[in-house]
């Protein structure tokens, strides 16, 4: 384990008034891995995700990207410096906009004076939808996001992140709104992404899902990391016990 981590934070703390959301947390994401971030409600998982994506700034602690100490305090910095993209359960997509416009939201391809190159964006969208993802049931990138199922939406959001060469996907409860089959598909997709050098952090309450895809488990409780083991060194019972014990 001597390789350089994509992302690492050390001794990170975050306080909201009296509440300590993160208490001296160490966390890292290496190349080619899927990390399961587990814990009960209020354990600090979401705060950690928000901090990594730059939405929340830590009070104390250090952040390293590719081994170099860095400061990430905005969403844009986490995207540009660390290549982080967050996928929420009702992900960062607009229902009333087409797939194309969603894929290129905020990163529109323009021709002149900021006018969009629709043709190019459509061609690239087709490419995105066809590459690796195999999002079934989407016949045209001109479809509105609102017409897609939950799983298809997730897939579009993930495909978008991959297309823009993100290195780390933060999936916050990605499957809680999905059907069983869609969940399978999204999880399979996450594991496949490792081959494209995209690492993921999956936050979930469903330990079976976590066991299906994750290589390493990190359990949080009351803002602290209380358990961390590789999949090969542990089993479902042990992880479950760690999550439910207070």
């Amino acid at each position: 384990m001597n390789q350089i981590n994509y992302y690492e934070c050390k001794n990170v703390s975050k306080r909201y008034g009296n509440l300590t959301a993160l208490d001296n947390v160490d966390f890292h994401i290496a190349k080619n891995e899927v990390v399961g971030l587990l814990g009960d409600n209020g354990a600090g998982k979401s705060t950690l995700i928000k901090m990594m994506s730059g939405v929340v700034a830590p009070d104390t602690g250090d952040v390293f990207v590719d081994g170099k100490e860095t400061k990430i305090s905005t969403r844009k910095q986490s995207e540009e410096i660390a290549g982080i993209e967050t996928i929420y359960q009702n992900s960062a997509l607009c229902d009333d906009m087409t797939i194309i416009r969603n894929i290129f939201m905020g990163r529109e391809i323009t021709k002149f004076f900021g006018f969009m190159d629709h043709k190019k964006m459509e061609d690239l969208s087709l490419e995105v939808l066809e590459s690796g993802v195999h999002i079934s049931g989407i016949d045209s990138p001109l479809k509105e996001i609102g017409a897609l199922s939950g799983g298809q939406k997730q897939a579009v959001a993930i495909a978008r992140a991959v297309y823009f060469k993100r290195k780390i996907l933060l999936l916050d409860e990605p499957t809680s709104a999905l059907s069983v089959r869609e969940t399978e598909r999204v999880l399979k997709y996450v594991t496949e992404l490792k081959n494209e050098n995209v690492s993921s952090v999956v936050v979930t309450h469903n330990l079976y899902h976590a066991f299906q895809v994750c290589d390493r488990f990190v359990v949080m409780s009351h803002g602290k990391v209380v358990f961390e083991k590789n999949k090969s060194d542990t089993n479902l019972e042990e992880v479950t016990e760690q999550v439910i014990k207070v």
Binding site: S53, V55, R75, K76, E79, T86, Y88, S91, A92, L93, C94, D95, D96, M97, R101, F104, M105, G106, R107, E108, T110, F113, G114, F115, M116, H118, E144, A147
Partner: protein, 323 residues
């Protein structure tokens, strides 16, 4: 054929387009069948119809862009009057050329919009409240600046007169201004990247933030557009009529919102189109015109607009559900 129909239905303006075409076909048939009693196709009628819709239309385009971004502007009605009076005073008191005065008026409108937007952004209060206050502020401001007398708009430029009040056949210059503003904003909203940002910020602000769009900046631009359009519509209306009433304009803001809603804009943002807003405006005036031609009592006109708003939204929602 079915595909084409589905395509029309899926557009924000789809419902309104179908409704608009149906009403036009019925009215044109009526006009052809009973040319003596129902003068819809009479050139004078068409001229009046086209002439009347421009001020509301230009204002509604600005209001619609802001609505797509998820905010309201209730102050556009009184701002419309304020900017027109500023323009007229520039010509009268400071002997500015009417073109420059028009520019000053529009800049005042844009600055007002920027002020509204800044307050909404900085204090994160609903734009409904901020612009409700601004509505009264600009109304009072108009009285403070000019007083309660109506103001005649006099200028010495034949070209300006032609450009703003001339006509080509039945088509009035102010209608061409409306179409021109519509074309400009069609390209901005549907083909420029800032347009994509309007939809993103209005449709899912969190998504916009997550993707790195700054919603405050985008909204500020939309507020400026609403203010600028209100000012332009005030100047166009005043130039055509030749005078401006300090109390006028009040109530137009709600009609503008009505035109947007009829045209398929979502009240909470993220959905809408320029063509829809233009059709919404046209539909309000077409209905008004039809009622007058049918000799319906003009006093009750607003009742029908009220019904039309609800009906149009029902049609929009029903048509979308069926896709």
């Amino acid at each position: 054929m079915k595909n084409l129909f589905d395509n029309i239905r899926s557009k924000p303006a789809g419902g309104i387009l179908i409704l608009f075409c149906t009403i036009q076909i019925v009215a044109i048939l009526g006009g052809l069948l009973y040319p003596e009693h129902f003068r819809y196709l009479n050139p004078a009628n068409i001229a009046v119809l086209l002439k009347s819709m421009s001020p509301l239309g230009i204002m509604a385009i600005g209001v619609g862009v802001l609505m797509i971004s998820g905010e309201f502007d209730l102050s556009v009605g009184t701002l419309y009057t304020f900017c027109a009076i500023v323009t007229a005073t520039m010509v009268k008191e400071y002997t500015l050329s009417p073109y420059l005065a028009m520019l000053v008026g529009i800049i005042v409108g844009i600055i007002a919009g920027l002020i509204h937007g800044n307050i909404v952004n900085r204090f994160t209060i609903p734009s409904f409240i901020v612009t409700l206050g601004a509505m009264l502020l600009w109304k009072g401001g108009t009285l403070l600046y000019h007083g309660a007398k109506s103001l005649r708009y006099k200028y010495e430029s034949e070209t300006y007169k032609t450009v703003l009040t001339g006509d080509i056949g039945v088509v009035d210059a102010s209608f061409l201004w409306f179409i021109g503003v519509g074309i400009v904003f069609y390209f901005i909203v549907h083909h420029h990247k800032i347009g994509n940002h309007f939809f993103a910020v209005g449709g899912n602000p969190e998504a916009a933030i997550a993707i790195g769009i700054n919603p405050k900046r985008v909204k500020l631009i939309a507020f400026a557009i609403a203010g600028g359009c209100a000012a332009l519509s005030g100047v166009v209306a005043m130039s055509r009529v030749g005078s401006v009433q300090p109390g006028g304009g009040l109530g137009l803001e709600l009609e503008a919102i009505a035109a947007c809603v009829i045209g398929g804009c979502a009240l909470m943002g993220g959905r809408g189109s320029i063509i829809g807003i233009m059709l919404g405006t046209a539909l309000i005036y077409t209905i008004q015109d039809l009622l007058l031609l049918l000799r319906a009592p003009g006093f009750y006109f607003e009742m029908f607009v009220g019904g039309l708003i609800v009906l149009a939204v029902i049609i929009n929602v029903t048509i979308r559900k069926r896709i």
